[in-house]
């Protein structure tokens, strides 16, 4: 049987969310040339000063947990086989907070706030076409 195709999760306009393939993948965000504010995913307009001078930047691979939780229910088919799964709000050195998946700690408990984490790319369920979707998450260092 033919191996299933592995595809990185993309922003819905086809824009990649992270650099891939890569040994050191990074999230792709944008920085406002006028005020310096950084956002993820990449977008055309700055949410702080409203100018349209965004430039693409690659975000730091390491950050720390700002908050975290573990969900024991999955309302969305792609997550049905993944319960429980962990979600965090991760603070990057660029002073941006990103809601994202966290690797579940073997203890089964949410990672404490302040825990140092690093970006990883993992297989994350199947999409509607049966492809294996690759998705970013943060893992405790």
């Amino acid at each position: 049987m033919e191996a299933k195709k592995k595809v990185p999760m993309k922003n819905d306009d086809g824009m990649p969310l992270f650099t891939w393939p890569s040994d050191n993948p990074q999230l792709i965000g944008s920085r406002c040339k006028a005020c310096g504010e950084i956002v993820f995913p990449k977008r055309p307009q700055c949410p702080k000063c409203y100018t349209e001078t965004e430039e693409e930047i690659l975000l730091s691979r390491r950050g720390k947990v700002y908050s975290s939780t573990i969900s024991y229910l999955a309302p969305w088919t792609m997550f049905k086989g993944s319960v429980p799964y962990s979600i965090g709000h991760v603070e990057l050195p660029e002073k941006v907070l990103i809601p994202c998946r966290l690797a579940l700690h073997p203890s089964g408990q949410p990672l404490p706030i302040g825990t140092k984490v690093e970006l990883a790319i993992e297989e994350w369920g199947e999409d509607e076409e049966g492809n294996v979707v690759l998705m970013h998450l943060f893992r405790q260092i």
Partner: protein
């Protein structure tokens, strides 16, 4: 001098599951109850503002237009409003403004919702860069998981314990047990709440409100005509909507990044709406005698109360510990039992709050009466950082 606006009638269809009724049936019942309470005939209604329900096609989105279809085609102006969970008070605001600006002497705000199926799932994909689709698909970020992230941040910052969240549910279940309009009227103890299934740490099943069905209506008129309809008019002192401010680190659904510079206090949309409401009414937080706020889960009651009353972070925990937020406390919160006891009929919830406050200010709620309440505040928070607040005052 600016016109004053009064509420002269309120009516609710009880909250619960009603498979035998349509959303329009339920809305008509609430509307007729409110008109009866106001001693007003449908033909006298000069403006209709309705809260739309997104789950039905015409019956939900054009629900305001179904009232003349059912009750009489009088030519009345109808405006249908959708603003997520901030929908009902946004409809109240439309009705209030129609009288305030002289467009009409009478108006009705009405709304109904039927969504008792549990968890929300992603809506249809609407096109590139749809963050609501992405947050579900990329992260599995349901609404309760966002609340859980807020809750665990609060535990870290101010030392709130799981016990506090359970205590909020215990308190609201004691209030809801006294409310004939509530779907859940069982009293729960802290231990029962803590031992209910974990949904997303630290929030347990009993701490998260159920989606639900309900309908409510509020009849308004110019204050100088109020005594024609009701001997106990209630003044609308503010009906306000505001959104979040960039720089607030609170994760707003469905945003995929926030600024981490901690420049602004959290829950900025609630602080923005509250400050606007105080400015519009000339009142201050210490003037509020009773609060009906949006307890989607127990966390909200603690955090939102601080934003509404401009308290220090963590102060709600102390108020809870002292029993200050019970019906007999110094600042009663959710004497109706809140969404925790009613369940949440999204597009109608704020009008249930307004109805409860009106009854409280009139002194008509029996066992759950807040003693000598003169000023009440209702608040609902809508998806994407949209907060609505109304302040109502006794005017008799």
């Amino acid at each position: 001098m600016a016109r004053e606006v009064a509420i002269v009638g309120v009516g609710m269809h009880p909250w619960g599951k009603y498979p035998e009724k349509t959303i329009v049936d339920m809305c008509v019942e609430a509307t007729l109850k409110a008109l009866q309470d106001a001693n007003m005939n449908w033909r006298e209604v000069g403006f209709v503002a309705s809260g739309c329900s997104p789950w039905f096609h015409m019956g939900g989105l054009l629900i305001g237009n179904y009232m003349p279809e059912r009750l009489g085609e009088t030519g009345v102006p109808v405006v249908n409003v959708f603003n997520a969970c901030a929908t009902p008070i946004s409809a109240l605001r439309e009705a209030y403004n129609a009288i305030l600006n002289g467009e009409s002497d009478t108006a009705i705000a009405l709304a109904a919702d039927k969504y008792s199926g549990g968890f929300f799932v992603p809506d249809k994909y609407v096109g590139p860069r749809d963050p609501d689709y992405l947050r579900f698909r990329m992260i599995g970020l349901t609404n309760p998981t966002v609340w859980a992230l807020w809750a665990r941040r609060r535990m870290h910052v101010v030392g709130t314990e799981p016990w506090h969240f359970a205590k909020v549910k215990e308190k609201n279940s004691q209030h809801g047990a006294l409310n004939p309009y509530a779907r859940y009227r069982k009293v729960f103890t802290v231990d029962e709440v803590l031992n209910s299934p974990m949904v997303c740490d630290p929030l347990t099943l009993y701490e998260i409100c159920a989606t639900n069905e309900g309908a409510a209506a509020v009849v308004l008129c110019a204050m100088d005509k109020a005594k024609n309809y009701n001997s106990k008019p209630i003044k609308v002192s503010a009906a306000i909507v505001a959104t979040s401010q960039f720089g607030d680190p609170t994760l707003v659904i469905p945003y995929l990044s926030r600024s981490a510079k901690d420049a602004l206090p959290i829950h900025s949309e609630i602080r923005n709406a509250a400050q606007r409401a105080y400015k519009a009414s000339g009142l201050k937080p210490s003037d509020i005698d009773v609060v009906e706020l949006h307890d989607g889960c127990s966390y909200h009651e603690l955090a939102y109360l601080e934003a509404i009353l401009d308290l220090e972070l963590g102060e709600s925990d102390r108020l809870l510990e002292q029993g200050a937020t019970t019906i007999n406390g110094k600042i009663p919160v959710n004497p109706s039992g809140g969404s925790s006891s009613l369940g949440e009929a999204i597009s109608a919830q704020g009008l249930a709050q307004a109805s409860e406050i009106v009854w409280q200010l009139r002194g008509e709620v029996g066992e759950r009466q807040v003693k000598d309440a003169k000023v009440g505040l209702g608040q609902t928070y809508g998806l994407m950082g949209n907060c609505s607040i109304c302040i109502l005052e006794r005017a008799f």
